[in-house]
Symmetry: C2
Subunit: 345 residues, 2 copies
């Protein structure tokens, strides 16, 4: 672990190029209004000295940081057990990188961390925040909103209904759910059950709503509540089999849940899809491809969600490519989903 050598300053570059600090600064920041001869000379000096601007000094005066916080509130390990989070992060990273912004990651667990995150964001260390608010009762979004930091949410926050200034990006959970259920209906299934996700999350609520859109007059006993986990899926599937032995299809709120349901179905001697067809949600790989049978599911473009979140935020900050998809700063952007047919339905 070596110490970093003393880095050359603007002053040094200026001296070497035989110009003033101001001119070097202009060149470094685009070089408008400087004669080509000088631009060239300064560039050369920068090169030779290996000059890199001191971001701290720059931020001090510009009050920008070219840094965005990504806040992932996840008391449970769920987010970590699937690639969802990582993919979104990657989309975000790509977009931020393309616009020369840094990504400051804040992972929170438990209430204690909320204050810390609030303080950090209020502290003006970053220009904006991307926040994943997964739970309806999560105080974090409110807290962040209050910190006065420009924010884009990943997933519809629970309270967005009453606030038109909330910007978020979400998948079309409801539409995707409708597609899944319609697909099952199209297969001739009539006793289509739904295993819900954790209903304190908007995604679970929206998927349930989608199910209801299609199955308006369905037997309410065909709905079993679970929590997005395989174990929850198993439990719910057992319930379902006990309650409605004639069930011939299941739409599970996500692939993990579906995998649990599949296992119970197999144990119960029900053939999939012959006896019971199963559809999941997420298209979580490799899981969805490797269940037995491979899972028909609803795919969402997670990486694109991340990218879009970043783009929206940057645009709100007057960064990013101007007018690209002009005026698209609607408060909520919903990305389409697609049904991926495999063997389970």
């Amino acid at each position: 672990m070596t110490d970093t050598a003393p880095r050359p300053t603007l002053e040094a570059v200026a001296a070497r190029a035989g110009v003033s600090r101001a001119t070097v600064s202009r060149v470094v920041n685009g070089g408008d209004g400087v004669r080509d001869i000088l631009v060239e000379r300064v560039r050369k000096a920068v090169e030779e000295l290996g000059y890199v601007p001191n971001q701290a000094a720059r931020s001090l005066v510009t009050r920008r940081h070219d840094a965005i916080a990504v806040v992932v509130a996840e008391p449970e390990t769920r987010v970590f057990a699937d690639p969802f989070f990582a993919l979104q992060l990657r989309g975000i990273s790509k977009e931020l990188t393309a616009h020369d912004n840094q990504l400051v990651l804040l992972l929170t667990e438990g209430r204690d961390d909320h204050a810390r995150v609030g303080r950090y964001l209020a502290g003006g260390h970053v220009d904006g925040a991307l926040v994943f608010s997964l739970h309806l009762d999560d105080p974090l979004p409110e807290l962040i909103q209050r910190a006065g930091v420009p924010t884009v949410f990943g997933g519809r926050p629970g309270w967005s209904g009453d606030r038109r200034d909330v910007v978020y990006v979400d998948s079309d959970n409801r539409g995707g759910a409708r597609d899944a259920v319609r697909h099952l209906a199209g297969l001739g299934r009539t006793r289509i059950a739904h295993i819900t996700g954790a209903l304190d999350q908007t995604s679970a609520v929206d998927r349930l709503d989608g199910y209801r859109d299609v199955m308006a007059d369905a037997d309410p006993r065909l709905i079993a509540e679970a929590d997005f986990t395989p174990a929850g899926g198993e439990r719910a599937m057992r319930e379902l089999l006990g309650r409605c032995p004639d069930v011939d299809a299941v739409f599970a709120a996500n692939d993990l849940t579906a995998s649990g349901a599949l296992r119970v179905l197999r144990e119960a001697g029900r053939r999939v899809p012959d006896d019971v067809a199963v559809v999941g949600f997420d298209d979580m790989l490799p899981l969805a491809e490797q269940t037995d049978p491979p899972l028909t599911t609803v795919r969402q473009d997670i990486e694109e969600m991340g990218r879009l979140m970043a783009r929206l935020l940057l645009r709100g900050l007057d960064r990013g490519t101007p007018r690209e998809g002009a005026g698209d700063t609607r408060s909520g952007v919903v990305l389409p989903t697609t049904l991926v047919r495999r063997a389970s339905a």
Copy 2:
């Protein structure tokens, strides 16, 4: 997206508390050498004004940033397809948070990004870096080392043999592999095969070495090369069955590979574990629990690896709890693994 209000400065707090800037600064940074009466007065003023120090201004003079870069070089999506990365990140995040450091995430893909990362690190925006170098020929580690930023590597870098100043944290891949193979041997298996990982990664090489430690005089045809993917596992397993039909056990380089192997074995009508016992590596959940049969595998404490990396780096920077596990700044730290017995072996 509201604009942030003008924040109070040290000066403002000083005025309100009736002291000098210097005194406020002292209080904000611990309050040593200031009378309790004044400390109290300053604290009150800070509270009332909602003062938060301007990190940019502070960094400008202290030359510290209390920020650590986490560099994840991953051209392939592999890292994103499993929770490995996320868990490690979480461990890192916990440790950094505990010491009030920020986590700047740099994801790279492809050669172009290397220069960008190098520039960023050399730019002195962060105090140190945690780098995941997964490939033997990755130029990134060298590049980073040259940038003169204190660095801890995740996973043994390929070239660490010749450089004693390289600090890294790794799992005991070799020892874990030995345990796995010994376990299979203990089951009375004699034709134990190994499906390797991508051999341009040290973890794959080390696991292969562990296999060889136990199976010194094994039939070389029992070794099939794969790449950590399920598809690779399938391919290798087919090869193996063709080459050595009498194979009675398989140690796969990771769980993904093992899952592919399991599928091929099932198709081939071999019962697991009766005909062929299978052991994986990683204990990747939920996959490992949900294969058919559930996978016996080698677990590594991934979160702890992350935490340890952060701790080592912070300690190297003279931060972190002093003397905690004194003098433990060895160049390489290897974490133990444990065999998790499930049904497949």
